[in-house]
Amino acid sequence: MDTSANYQVKLEVFQGPLDLLLFLIRKKKIDIHDIPIATITREYLEYLEQKQRINLDREAEFLLIAALLIYIKSQMLLPREKPLDEEKDPRQVLVNRLLDYQRIKAASGLLKEKEEEELQKWKRTALPSILKEDEMDSIEVSLFDLAESFFALMKRKEKEGIKTIKGKEFSLEDKMKEILALLEIDEFLDFLDYFNQQESFEEALVAFLSLLELIKSRIVVAIQDTHFKPIKVWLRTQHGKGN
């Protein structure tokens, strides 16, 4: 990197393809509503070749817009009987995107000015210690805080050792046997109760899959008398006689 003061022409890197396109349009004093697609495509591709002026992490995105330009160019070259009306102009998609982006860029410039102004004003980030009341560390929380908090908790757990979470392995077969054993003792099984007894989410999941397996292989049957009543699971043979 040349950082000497003599190096006058500072090459600005274009953040994205729309950024570069807008720059070219302004440079060539082009009317954004009537873009000479052949010229702009040529210019655009030339800039793409000078890789130091584009953000290389974004190369694929620059190429995507190049492809769009070439596509529009090809559409423009198609022979037509009548001149295109505005809505069918193949450039319209691009024009709309550029207009949207231009507004975002203008807004972004305004925000930058605002930021500059506001950064000169200092607000307290904490109350002076003398004023400290209990629970002053409380925060107003958002959904992101909630999710982030859980994520941090998960990370902490992971570090503490996975064994506490994944201590036991639950096999479908064992669970199926367990369910059948329970049905031998009791006439039926209360579906919800049974799940609530599972110690972990993992175990409950395996229990659920086992039950599905048993239903599928027609060993047990799940019955709900009416809506919102508990779902009961019966052994098929037993239930058969009552129905």
Binding site: F14, E61, I104, K112, K121, W122
Partner: protein
């Protein structure tokens, strides 16, 4: 009585870290008439603009809070031994603008508007609490939807999102802007 009310309001604004809203003041100052409260705030704001004071009450994000005056910035920096405050990157500002003008919006939409993948910038903005998750969109994949936060308003000194120029006003600003000289770099 009015003077006492002004004093109380001043102390309440002082004690709040977040902008103190009128609603909150009213919910606490139940002994006072709403009109009285509004009147007192107006008077309080006037005192601060006319007096020679180092701190003043400003209004942002729908509330009031104390801040130092911009002209004392360099002294504060000397006191706190801070070289300069960090600014948001242009990518962050651009992403914020996209969200501010198209909210509620999704990551895919933001990326489309900018023409670049915005995952990383969005993450930074979430961590800075300038953007918040407000739910999910009812569309394939149920993507999370985002909005600018209260902190966004405070950070940029805006009272409400309506303080930003409308898309039409933005277009006007763009038209008035002169065409830059040949080869000038993009800002």
């Amino acid at each position: 009585m009015q003077n006492r009310l002004k004093e109380i309001i001043e102390s309440m604004i002082f004690i709040s870290l977040e902008p103190l809203t009128l609603e909150k003041m009213k919910s606490v100052l139940t002994d006072f008439d709403e009109k009285e409260i509004e009147q007192a705030i107006m008077e309080l704001l006037n005192t601060f603009t006319t007096n020679e004071r180092g701190i003043h009450i400003i209004q942002a994000a729908g509330g009031y809070f104390f801040s130092t005056k911009p002209e004392h910035d360099s002294w504060i920096k000397r006191l706190l031994k801070v070289e300069r405050k960090n600014r948001l990157s242009s990518a962050a500002l651009e992403t914020l603008s996209a969200i501010a003008y198209h909210q509620p919006t999704t990551l895919a939409e933001i990326s489309a508007f900018r023409g670049v993948d915005s995952t990383h910038t969005l993450k930074t903005l979430l961590q800075k609490r300038l953007v918040k998750i407000v739910g999910r969109k009812k569309s394939p994949g149920n993507p999370l939807i985002y909005r600018t936060s209260e902190k966004f308003l405070t950070y940029f000194g805006l009272n409400s999102i309506k303080d930003l120029p409308s898309p039409e006003e933005l277009s006007k600003i763009l038209e008035e802007e002169s065409v830059p000289e040949e080869d000038s770099p993009p800002q």
